[in-house]
Symmetry: C2
Subunit: 146 residues, 2 copies
DNA sequence: GCTTGACTTAGAGCGCACTCGAAGTTGCAG
DNA sequence: CTGCAACTTCGAGTGCGCTCTAAGTCAAGC
């Protein structure tokens, strides 16, 4: 099972570009990847696992500076476990807060969509038909904007 | 109730910088804000409501290009309601997908935190004490990485 | 042996969303 | 009246995270 993939294969696997993979290595997110005799990179299973976890950190919004700190701690081995945990926990909390905010904003957007649906229904209706105070009330709720 | 706030007051209120407020206006996210005789900006309640909704779009990750499209539709008035709804619905779906992904990644991060906690507990323990196959198993689950 | 395409490096360039600087008004406190 | 902070415009600068280019090397098929 010692396959050791080429950069292209890893790019396909991880959905990162070959450029990004090399970039991650040179900035220090990955320690130097093994090479074939040709000098071409050969990624191990461990390399790929690392890339996949780093990608999770990225997509949850961790800045590269912080991922760099995490990678550095990994290189330091067992002694750094509790600092690694602390770093991840701090990130975890931040993401949860962002998630909260995101959900709130999403609710407002959904409300607006519903509002537009009602407007669309009204547009199709006979303009002389009394629609009651509903629309005006909602505009008030939406604070004056369309 | 026709207060009409200064740019500084709006910055404080919306948590945007005065720079950003002017930037939003010049790129066209806001139609030109009213002015005092001095030429200084005076933001109406409607302006502020617009800014707040735009900020919700931003913090949910909508690119400015798309917010620009939305603002353009707002300027076009009632005829654009259904296109506005379509735009918001598309965005809504994208955010929900990102939210899913975020939650999955967060779960993996949490798992890793738990893993580190166990490592920390083991570090404190007598190294000659048999800890059973638990740690090895988890390393396998974590796919070879620390 | 030759072509084709994937690989290598170092460094430059890009898109986004601000963010700031310069140079000049304006408005309010003392 | 003086000082000074807050405002104005226009254009340039910044930080981030890639993304691409150039020039060259390598590997496999014909």
């Amino acid at each position: 099972m010692e396959t050791n993939l080429t950069i292209q294969q890893v790019a396909t696997l991880t959905q990162l570009s070959v450029h990004t993979l090399r970039y991650y290595e040179r900035v220090g997110l990955l320690q130097p990847v093994g090479r074939a005799t040709s000098g071409h990179r050969r990624y191990s299973a461990a390399d790929i696992a690392r890339i996949e976890f780093l990608t999770r950190l990225r997509t949850t919004g961790m800045p590269i500076r912080q991922m760099l700190r995490f990678s550095e701690l990994l290189r330091q081995g067992d002694a750094s476990v509790s600092e690694r945990r602390a770093l991840l926990e701090a990130h975890y909390q931040q993401v949860r807060e962002r998630l909260q905010e995101l959900n709130q904003n999403l609710a407002v957007i959904e409300f607006k969509i519903e509002h537009y649906k009602k407007l669309e229904a009204d547009q199709g209706a006979d303009p002389w038909l009394d629609k009651g105070p509903t629309v005006a009330k909602q505009n008030a709720a939406l604070r004056l904007e369309a």
